[in-house]
């Protein structure tokens, strides 16, 4: 029963996504419909137009299995044979170095700003 409920709720999320996509297309926004859908759903929840129970199970299922949805695009790499050579190794090196710097800069800024507020653990 829980799985049927989750699937129906994922259906509701698809409806919101569709609305988000339509808004992005009609207004020619450079923002993807999924992000607009996210903002819409947040506003609907905030103003009690949609109750959390209506979508909670489906949303929880999608978020907990998120990694699975990335797998097919990851496998797309096999169509880029040029990336298996020297340029590919270099590109991976750029990603690793840049990721370390980005994470350090982000984490450090957050840590610094957070510490100024005393007695705050979050």
């Amino acid at each position: 029963m829980k799985i049927v409920k989750s699937i129906v709720q994922i259906g509701y999320l698809y409806v919101i996504l569709f609305v988000g996509n339509s808004i992005a297309r009609l207004l020619h926004l450079p923002i993807p419909g999924s992000i607009i859908g996210l903002v819409l759903l947040f506003l609907f929840l905030q103003f009690h137009i949609i109750k959390l129970e209506w979508i909670e199970l489906g949303a929880g299922l999608l978020l907990s299995e998120l990694l699975l949805f990335f797998i097919p695009s990851a496998i797309g790499v096999i169509d880029y044979t040029a990336l298996f050579g020297e340029q590919g190794v270099k590109a991976v090196l750029v990603i690793v170095l840049s990721a370390i710097v980005v994470m350090f800069a982000t984490g450090f800024t957050a840590q610094l700003l957070g510490q100024r507020k005393k007695g705050d653990t979050a």
Partner: protein, 237 residues
């Protein structure tokens, strides 16, 4: 026949994913993460059986498609923790603005210095934001959107492997620092990793991912062209 390949691709992907997830839980080793092992195993199977990516994707497209409603679903943890996020709005915005600027400048500079070709350089710049937005940005600044999609993926995989090390070495104890660096550095995959640390970390990561996407759109159209001009014409003529 192609229908059969599609069905086997879909069921096989799900089966390999959950098997690797089981091993990951059992042995608690970062390198066994399903997002690394599953693509590796599937790529080997596709190469061995001579199956094309096109016929594989015909069956598994539904999984990529679910990324759409999954992105919408991020509204739920944000709604649940909205008070906390309001309290940290300044910290979140500033950390992500710094992170986004560092992502763009470091990707570009390192890629140019290391000697990558122009198309790869511009496809790498938007790699730290979520796929659909990264592809749009890539298009705007002269990269290849499909190559960018691959780099975004690699960033997600490697980023979620590197992040726990950065957190450990730098002793980032606060859930906000941990979540923000994961969402900023490894977008969706990082956010998923952040939920393994805890709901708070996951929420900060979800918000980081969204804010990073919006800030990156602005930075790539205003700040990046100026930075590119500076590096290419003045610093490295």
């Amino acid at each position: 026949m192609s229908f059969l390949i599609a069905i086997v691709s879909l069921l096989g992907t799900i089966a390999i994913f959950y098997t690797s997830k089981m091993f990951y839980k059992k042995y608690q080793n970062e390198w066994l993460t399903p997002i690394l092992i599953t693509p590796l195993v599937i790529i080997i199977i596709l190469l061995l059986t001579g199956t094309s990516y096109k016929s594989y994707v015909a069956g598994t497209g539904i999984l990529s498609n679910l990324l759409g409603p999954a992105t919408v679903a991020f509204a739920v943890p944000i709604y649940r923790n909205f008070n906390l996020l309001k309290k940290h709005a300044f910290e979140i915005f500033l950390s992500i603005a710094v992170g986004s600027a560092v992502a763009i400048t470091s990707s570009f500079t390192i890629a140019v210095v290391i000697g990558l070709n122009n198309e790869l350089v511009h496809s790498l710049v938007p790699r730290s934001v979520t796929t659909p937005i990264a592809m749009d940005i890539s298009n705007m600044i002269g990269g290849s959107p499909t190559l960018t999609a691959v780099f975004v993926m690699v960033t997600g995989i490697l980023g979620s492997l590197i992040a726990p090390l950065v957190i450990k070495v730098c002793r980032f104890q606060r859930p906000s620092s941990r979540g923000l660096l994961l969402g900023m550095g490894a977008h969706g995959a990082g956010t998923s990793k952040a939920f393994e640390f805890g709901e708070l970390e996951g929420t900060f990561a979800s918000l980081a991912m969204i804010v990073a996407a919006l800030i990156s759109i602005v930075l790539s159209t205003t700040f990046f062209p100026a930075f590119e001009h500076l590096v290419v014409n003045i610093l490295l003529p």
